[in-house]
């Protein structure tokens, strides 16, 4: 966890409103794990003020390169997309606890389920799992054909099913319609309704979910990002998405 002045190496649009940015800094290395995130400062002044949490999509530890994929939505991400190569991007990270890659053994099967802008962190996860000899299936859901990205990239690590809500590409409907096979592990990142729907898959294998929450500090100090603990009758126990998560085992916290 460190504050890094990274250099923007490249930036390109890869789908409707979706951008891929690659940044360089010497400190970008193996300490960046799948499922962790970085906290990105956009713009030079204090508007926007807060950092933006963006998942680690990929890391090349030797080349000290970090890939982020983001949707240009509000003020911060729209400023970010206007940056040109050579610009300095201030990043805090790696933050949080990622996916339990080390738990998986060769030959096991993992399903990676991504929804929209929840897809990026699964890319680095998939590479890491495949390197361990894990069989990886991908089910990535998008709004429509225009918003699909990284299909080919994921295919390098295992079969890919794409769903679109409007049926304009791949399978029509939600990712949860495409999950009728067995697995040892299921990893997911995406909108809350999707994550809630996936909680029930706990009966079929181990399920890990990556959560989103509005953040202040991103490091556990401000208590902006807390969630309740499942089965806690005092209603006082909590986990911080930024520092205890963003990845939790299904059943640990209230979604």
């Amino acid at each position: 966890m460190n504050q890094l002045k990274t250099e923007l190496v490249s930036q390109r649009q890869i789908a409707e409103s979706i951008y891929e940015a690659i940044v360089y800094n010497e400190s970008i290395d193996e300490s960046f794990k799948p499922g962790q995130f970085v906290h990105v400062k956009a713009g030079g002044g204090s508007d926007p003020l807060l950092r933006r949490p963006i998942s680690i999509c990929h890391v090349e530890p030797k080349k000290h390169l970090l890939t982020m994929i983001y949707r240009a939505e509000g003020k911060g991400t729209n400023l970010l997309k206007s940056e040109v190569p050579g610009a300095v991007i201030d990043i805090l990270g790696p933050l949080g606890n990622g996916f339990p890659v080390d738990e998986l053994r060769e030959g096991q099967t993992a399903v990676l389920v991504g929804g929209g802008i929840g897809v990026p962190p699964l890319y680095y996860l998939s590479e890491s799992l495949q390197e361990r000899g894990v069989h990886v299936h991908h089910v990535n859901g998008f709004q429509s054909k225009e918003s699909v990205f990284y299909e080919e990239e994921f295919k390098e690590f295992g079969p890919v099913t794409i769903t679109t809500v409007d049926g304009s590409y791949g399978e029509s409907g939600f990712v949860t319609n495409q999950l009728d096979f067995s697995f040892d592990y299921l990893f997911a990142c995406g909108p809350s309704p999707m994550l809630r729907a996936l909680e029930s898959y706990r009966s079929k294998g181990k399920v890990y979910l990556s959560l989103e929450q509005r953040m202040g500090c991103g490091i556990g100090a401000c208590l902006a990002c807390v969630c309740h603990v499942q089965g806690d009758t005092t209603a006082l126990k909590y986990r911080k998405v930024c520092s205890d998560g963003p990845v939790f085992e299904a059943g640990e916290v209230v979604l």
């Binding site: 926007p48 003020l49 807060l50 003020k75 500090c217 100090a221 401000c222 208590l223 807390v226």
Partner: protein, 313 residues
């Protein structure tokens, strides 16, 4: 570092920079970034008699040059603070200012009495200005009489000097400041957050689950400077200023307005090294301004001798 040394009731500060309450937890997270002993003091998260979970999420929203928060005083409660958080902090040679909150005067008294006995607690900060809790909090801070009463009651039981944290959400902050001074407050801290709201266009509801929240960050700095400029001329107790401080220049502006020390809140979220960076830059800035000791700046914007002197440079 004696150029930055400041003496305040209960607080011998090696420098006048401290993280603001609620923006630094109990220091554990930031201790991973730097040695907490670099800080002049630490204002820890509000403590209430019982543990509190606080408000539902989302608890923060961004605004232009500011943020809204409605954490709702989440804290582990007095016992846990006394037995776990404060002892952990006592490993560091840095004075702690304990932020005390409650719903009734009895709450404030009960927490203040106990927490002021902790060996590393050098002062209390009475949070009578939190906008994010249903009863108490803000209400105490907007009426001179209740502000007087809670201050007086806490002063009677506290083992350490008492600073009262003022709310900016009032017509006449000088009136409130004077009544807490009369009640025996040893100092003031100001300002707490301005009450604000943002509404989500997609849901058409407030972004914060709580509805309204407290506005902090650079957006509120001019309001804080104005209030400190007003109040410091009307009371004789010292003021710890806060609201949007990000740089050493901001700190100097607060001192010129009338503050004797400065707390840094939201800026910690933007730059975790913010406090030590300010502390490093202050002597250089004093050099630029041609001053030796930072205390020469206090209230200089309204102390006539000083402004005369500076304009003759």
């Amino acid at each position: 570092m004696s150029r930055l040394q400041i003496e305040l009731p209960g607080l011998s500060l090696k420098n006048p920079i401290m993280p603001a309450s609620g923006c630094f937890g109990f220091g554990r997270e930031y201790s991973k970034f730097y040695d907490l002993e670099k800080l002049g003091a630490i204002m820890v998260k509000a403590t209430t008699a019982e543990p509190r979970f606080g408000n539902p999420t989302p608890r923060v929203a961004e605004t232009s040059s500011g943020m809204l928060n409605a954490i709702g005083l989440q804290n582990p409660g007095l016992d846990e603070v006394l037995h776990s958080e404060l002892p952990w902090l006592s490993e560091f040679d840095v004075p702690i200012i304990a932020n005390v909150a409650g719903s009734t005067i009895e709450d404030y008294v009960a927490v203040s009495k106990e927490i002021s006995k902790a060996p590393n607690v050098h002062a209390l900060e009475l949070n009578i200005s939190c906008p994010n809790v249903k009863e108490g909090g803000l209400a105490f801070g907007t009426v001179p009489e209740t502000a007087y009463e809670v201050t007086k009651a806490v002063k009677a039981v506290s083992s350490v000097p008492v600073y009262v944290k003022l709310s900016p959400n009032v017509t006449d902050i000088v009136e409130i400041a004077k009544s807490v001074e009369k009640a025996g407050a040893d100092g003031l801290t100001m300002i707490n957050t301005l009450l604000g709201m943002r509404i989500d266009l997609k849901t058409s509801k407030p972004i914060l689950a709580n509805g309204a929240g407290g506005l902090s960050g650079p957006a509120i700095k001019p309001v804080a400077i104005r209030m400190i400029h007003q109040v410091s001329q009307q009371v004789s107790i010292p003021i710890i200023g806060m609201g949007g401080v990000q740089t050493a220049e901001d700190v100097v502006e607060y001192f010129l307005a009338g503050a004797s020390a400065v707390a840094v809140g939201t800026a910690n979220f933007v730059d975790p090294y913010c406090c030590p960076t300010i502390i490093e830059n202050l002597p250089l800035l004093l050099d630029d301004l041609g001053l030796y000791h930072i205390d020469e700046l206090i209230g200089r914007s309204w102390k006539t001798e000083w402004t005369l002197q500076s304009s003759s440079r």
